[in-house]
Amino acid sequence: MNASDKGSTLIPLWGKRSLHRLPFIVLTDLFRSRHLLRLLIKRDLNARYRRAYLGYTWAVLEPLLLAVVYTFIFTILVGSSDPLYPVKIIIGIIGWTMFARSLTTSTKSLSSSINLFQFARVPKTVFATSGTLTNAVLAVISLTCLIPFYFIHDLPITANLLMLPVWLLLLSFTGWGIGLLLAPLACKIPDILNLINFLVRAGFFLSPVMWTYDMFNSRFGDGWHAIVAHLNPTVVPITGMRDVVLGESSAIPGYGYAMCLTIALLGYVFGAMVFERKAHRAVVNV
């Protein structure tokens, strides 16, 4: 509580909140705590690269260097002849990193700040969100490494490019929602964090980072494999990012978009409900 709560009546510290309203309450709480949110994002951005000589350049260099390694593996060792392959890999890495970091930072948000939550009444969703938004800022900075490829490959500059941040935000939103769902459990059972670390490593290969949607389609076709593949919430957004940058159009079926949006929305709705109901008690029991 702070001075702004000052009033003439006694106010319950833990007012009852109906379950179905929790997803909206999380958003209004975040808006109300935007000052703290801004400070935490600034802290995370400052702290991450403050001691590095190259500073924020690392946000651009990281996906670029990884793309060099994967391009080497695929063009030299595997024999891929696609000249746009490095661009596809960079987009895949940026998209996947966005999702994976959102998922891990929000899952760890309670356990990593447990000392603070045991001494201060702070809105816990702010901590789960600040890490996600910090990574979103870094991902947008990372996108600048695509600029040289526009000149090298004469890539089209169209209004569709406006969809690039939308796809990135969808990846971020999905990771954040699932992270909210898992955070109270990860606070109680540390094994969840190990499991998430494993899933993120495995997910890198199961998501379209090194492979593309077209590669998958030409190999497996439209059967049940495709339905299972669309359960991975990164498949459609990463493919969408590639399409808007390269000016292509992958044949993503309507159900693919529907599944992707449903998973993102359900992840957030259930994540917000579980987080608001369980997070406060989870930090007491540690």
């Binding site: 001075a3 003439s8 009546t9 000052h35 400052n46 000392n115 702070v122 007491v284």
Partner: protein, 192 residues
């Protein structure tokens, strides 16, 4: 007399660790506490280690939710405990003061008005603009106490936190807390 905080039949129990569940061990915590804190009162809570004093204080501060019962408050509540928790080693003393203030629910404008006082009380001089990874533990504690005691709440909750720094800083902190107690609407102090 105006009531600034009311606890009604409040209970919080910590779960018994899994390895002890087969034994007949009663869970620790606090049970069925009812009390009122009035405007202008200084309430002392004493008890042995593990008797639940800090747990009660954390519930009063809204940090821990009770299993049952209700806790109501009027105005701002501030808990003076765990001073310095939330500091980030890569940020400067000044940046950490703003962050710590925000964690206590204060706005940038409110901290702006007190930042010089915070710097001068912490006696950090030019170190205030350096990352706190370069600070000694005493310097970190001085900064923490300086920020934590800079604001005047309607209800101040104190959990024995002032044994830090050298003798002169301890004396200075004690004087500051005494002043804070005088200025705050009501105070609850926990001690052995």
């Amino acid at each position: 007399m105006t009531v600034v905080m009311r606890l009604e039949d409040v209970t919080l129990e910590y779960p018994v660790p899994r390895q002890y569940r087969k034994e007949d061990i009663q869970p620790s915590g606090v049970r069925n506490i009812s009390l009122e804190v009035n405007q202008g009162e200084v309430l002392g809570i004493i008890g042995r280690n593990g008797s639940g004093k800090s747990t009660l204080l954390k519930m009063m501060a809204g940090v821990f939710p009770p299993d049952s019962g209700t806790i109501s408050a009027r105005g701002s509540v501030s808990l003076l405990a765990g001073v310095g928790v939330g500091f980030h080693k890569e940020l400067t003393g000044c940046e950490n003061a703003y962050l710590y203030g925000a964690l206590m629910g204060r706005t940038t404008e409110q901290i702006d008005g007190l930042i010089e006082e915070i710097q001068s009380f912490a006696e950090l001089d030019h170190h205030f603009d350096r990352p706190i990874r370069t600070y000694s533990s005493g310097m970190k504690s001085r900064l923490g106490i300086s920020v934590a005691t800079a604001f005047r709440p309607d209800l101040l909750l104190i959990d024995e936190v002032l044994g830090v720094g050298d003798a002169s800083f301890r004396k200075k902190s004690e004087d500051r807390v005494k002043q804070l107690i005088q200025d705050s609407g009501a105070v609850v102090i926990v001690s052995h």
